[in-house]
């Protein structure tokens, strides 16, 4: 019996949040793991957290449920990874940020400004023939902003990839216990020497 049935082999987007030790080479270990196990990542962001020793990664993968569980377990296995949770089905805030450089001749600027207003975006740089628009929000919002700006002529664009955080006062989503077939991995806080 190979693992997984239909429901667990269908692909969908999974968002994983990983807390990792802030040490040289950790990003390499994570990236190397993805390559090694042929996990295709859509986006990966790394940044500081409230604690200087800990960095936070938000990893978006388009994959089956079984394979997402495998990603999670493999990440957990890295010594420098402190915690991983799949927050896909938790109540979360997800944000992406884009900088979009658009052609903006004087006569079309007003139109662009209007769009920027509607999307509660910002113009962060103005030049003779172009402007840079900064927009943050969930992915879909940015997608439509990009679509609407397209006719003006997008000169270049950069997106950060998604970052995510669980709503409420705790770090962990209360009911997103791992359903990956293992049992509470996080129960032994101190190594037994």
């Amino acid at each position: 019996m190979p693992p997984g049935d239909d429901s667990s082999t269908r692909k969908s987007t999974h968002i994983l949040v990983a807390l990792v030790e802030n040490k040289p080479g950790v990003l390499n270990r994570v990236a190397s793991l993805f390559r090694r196990r042929s996990f295709n990542i859509e986006s990966l962001t790394v940044g500081h957290t409230e604690s200087p020793d800990i960095s936070r990664m938000t990893i978006v993968v388009d994959t089956s449920k079984t394979s997402a569980a495998l990603v999670e377990k493999n990440l957990n296995k890295l010594i420098n990874v402190i915690d991983v949770q799949d927050v896909t089905h938790a109540p979360i805030v997800v944000r992406d940020l884009a900088l979009i450089k658009v052609t903006a001749p004087a006569e079309r600027r007003a139109e662009i400004m209007q769009l920027v207003d509607i999307f509660r975006a910002k113009i962060v740089d103005v030049y003779a023939e172009s402007v840079i628009v900064e927009v943050t929000g969930p992915e879909a919002k940015i997608d439509s902003m990009v679509e609407l700006l397209h006719p003006f002529g997008i000169i270049e664009m950069v997106r950060t990839g998604r970052v995510a955080m669980v709503r409420g006062s705790g770090y962990r989503a209360p009911y997103v216990l791992s359903d990956n077939g293992t049992n509470g991995l996080r129960v032994n806080p101190t190594p037994n020497l």
Binding site: M1, P3, K73, K77, N80, N180, G181, P189, P191, L193
Partner: protein, 571 residues
């Protein structure tokens, strides 16, 4: 207490209880070798760094303690790679220490500078680059802990030369802070009870015992489970030695070259109790048709293994010994007589098909016979270290392993050239044991330089070279799967008796079945190392065999006697 980094290395090794290390010096590790002069640790100078890693691996498997190897930067560290990969795939606790160029030169392509932590990242459980002496004690403490705990594995520490030379106050930390590393040893009660309920309800259960039994020392618990529940056991290659093979419940090895009846029993089982094994493809054959009627209890210390290849109905993350101890009180006795009767029917004519029972032996020297005679001649009371290829499979089949953890072999990586260096490590780990290396003529030619190490260290190893004049296992695949299009399988070799003589070792050659027993007796009586060459029939195959891509039940059985006779006439 001020110490240089180099001195700290030896201080720490001593505190970790290390008495022996395997290594090879060079420029970037000179300070450490310099400091060695003042410390009472036995350093074994190998002839190639790969063998330092393989010897450390062998030592680790023989003792259950961490094996340590050492090499210089660049070429030295690169030569360790195969041995580390071998330890990685077989979860063997090894610590490798390599010298690195001075820290300000790292990244500049300096002389003998290689990104060693980069290269070894996927073949170590964890690795470290140390460029400040202050980090060394913590790093080494962590390295030993990581190597031996949880699912064991190799850890590499790459130490910059300036960090070896710098000195600072030395204090070895008492505790470890690894927030991201917390191996789970005990299974949760709910799953334990669930597993026990599955076991008690099963009519056709099978225990699949892997390396985890040996690594966690769960031999007694495994036996207890099998006996109390009356459950047949089959082992993986690395699980051999987990339960005596003469035990009536032991069906012996499963998988590609496993016993036909063990494989059939797996295919028909209604419950697989997998203990410290990882459903490797060499064990399962085609997953689509694997154990179609079985529910699966999977116990492993590595959560990644559970559900990786085979879906687990009950997955328990934990140490095999602990989890078994938790399960045992719930196990109820059962007869399961229909199940055992069925297994006996499958066993059926297995004995008759055995090549040793077919009267072929008059003049032909068969490798299986040689292995069987080594078993008989030594009373089975030895540690065997086998290499890779046909010799390894025949060793697994024709040596009856009754002593605990008596076989040491390379499973996951299938590292040719493993046996001789690993036997060196094994002999240091089990000095009172008679240690035999069983190795093919191909694998042996990868290890010849280590004969000098054997001599220099005065190790009374018994080396049995199974010389079939070819890369036998490759030849077998070419014969059976590539339509006999033989390609690069004939391998010539030196006169091994003269070779032994050149190294100052006793050498002997055996060509006839009648001389085998005597040669084994002579080898055992000689106080020093002995190299015995068995010149065997080149064209016999290892059976049973499950072709790659086929299900376990579709294995080729051992041919019936008439076919063997026909083949014998041809060769």
């Amino acid at each position: 207490m001020r110490r240089t980094g180099a001195q700290m290395v030896w201080e720490i090794l001593r505190r970790e209880g290390v008495q022996i290390i395997f290594g090879y010096p060079g420029g970037a590790i000179l300070p450490i070798y310099d400091a060695l002069v003042d410390y009472p640790i036995h350093h074994v100078l190998v002839r190639h760094e790969e063998n330092a890693a393989l010897a450390a691996d062998g030592y680790a498997r023989a003792t259950g303690r961490v094996g340590v190897c050492m090499a210089t930067s660049g070429p030295g560290a690169m030569n360790l790679v195969t041995g580390l990969a071998c330890a990685m795939l077989d979860s063997s606790p090894v610590v490798a220490i390599t010298g690195q160029v001075t820290s300000h030169l790292v990244g500049s392509d300096a002389f003998q500078e290689i990104d060693v932590t980069g290269v070894t990242l996927p073949i170590t459980k964890h690795n470290y680059l140390v460029n400040r002496v202050e980090e060394l004690p913590r790093v080494m403490k962590e390295a030993f802990y990581i190597a031996r705990s949880g699912r064991p594995g190799p850890v590499l520490i790459d130490i910059c030369k300036d960090a070896q030379m710098a000195s600072t106050g030395f204090e070895y930390p008492e505790t470890i802070e690894l927030p991201g590393y917390r191996p789970v040893l005990r299974g949760p009660e709910e799953q334990i009870r669930q597993a026990a309920a599955y076991i008690n309800a099963a009519e056709r259960p099978m225990i699949l015992a892997g390396h985890g039994i040996i690594l966690s020392g769960a031999n007694d618990e495994l036996r207890e489970l099998a006996e109390r529940g009356n459950i047949p056991v089959s082992t993986t290659l690395l699980g051999i030695g987990g339960l005596p093979e003469s035990h009536p419940l032991n069906l012996r090895m499963m998988g590609m070259h496993g016993q036909a009846y063990a494989n059939m029993a797996i295919q028909e089982a209604d419950l697989l109790i997998a203990l410290g094994m990882r459903f490797d493809d060499r064990v399962t054959g085609n997953l689509k048709s694997y154990a179609p009627r079985a529910e699966v209890i999977h116990v492993d210390i590595d959560p990644v293994e559970i559900g990786k290849n085979v879906r687990a109905d009950v997955g328990i993350v934990g140490d095999a010994k602990q989890v078994l101890r938790q399960i045992l009180p719930f196990i109820e006795p059962r007869y399961r007589s229909a199940w055992f009767a069925q297994i006996e029917r499958w066993r059926g004519d297995a004995g008759a098909r055995d090549i040793l029972n077919q009267g072929l032996l008059k003049d032909m020297l068969l490798a299986p016979y040689v292995i069987h005679e080594i078993w008989r001649g030594t009373g089975g009371d030895i540690t065997v270290v086998s290499d890779v290829g046909q010799n390894q499979m025949w060793e697994a089949q024709y040596f009856q392993h009754d002593r605990q953890n008596q076989l040491i072999t390379s499973g996951g990586l299938g590292t040719m050239g493993f046996a001789v260096p690993a036997a060196i490590g094994t002999k240091f780990g089990r000095p009172d044991d008679e240690v035999w290396a069983v190795v093919g003529d191909g694998g042996f030619q990868m290890s010849i330089p280590e004969l000098a190490t054997v001599v220099q260290e005065k190790l009374p190893l018994k080396i049995a070279v199974i010389n079939n004049g070819c890369l036998g296992m490759v030849r077998q695949w070419q014969e059976l799967l590539h339509d006999r299009r033989y390609s690069e399988i004939r391998i010539a070799g030196p006169d091994l008796v003269k070779l032994a003589d050149a190294y100052g070792i006793k050498g002997q050659r055996v060509r006839r079945p009648d001389d085998v027993a005597e040669a084994i007796r002579v080898a055992r009586q000689c106080p020093g190392p002995v190299l015995t060459e068995f010149v065997v029939e080149p064209e016999i195959n290892v059976f049973p065999m499950v072709q790659p891509g086929k299900g376990l039940h579709e294995m080729w059985r051992r041919p019936m006697p008439s076919r063997n006779m026909a083949m014998a006439e041809k060769v």
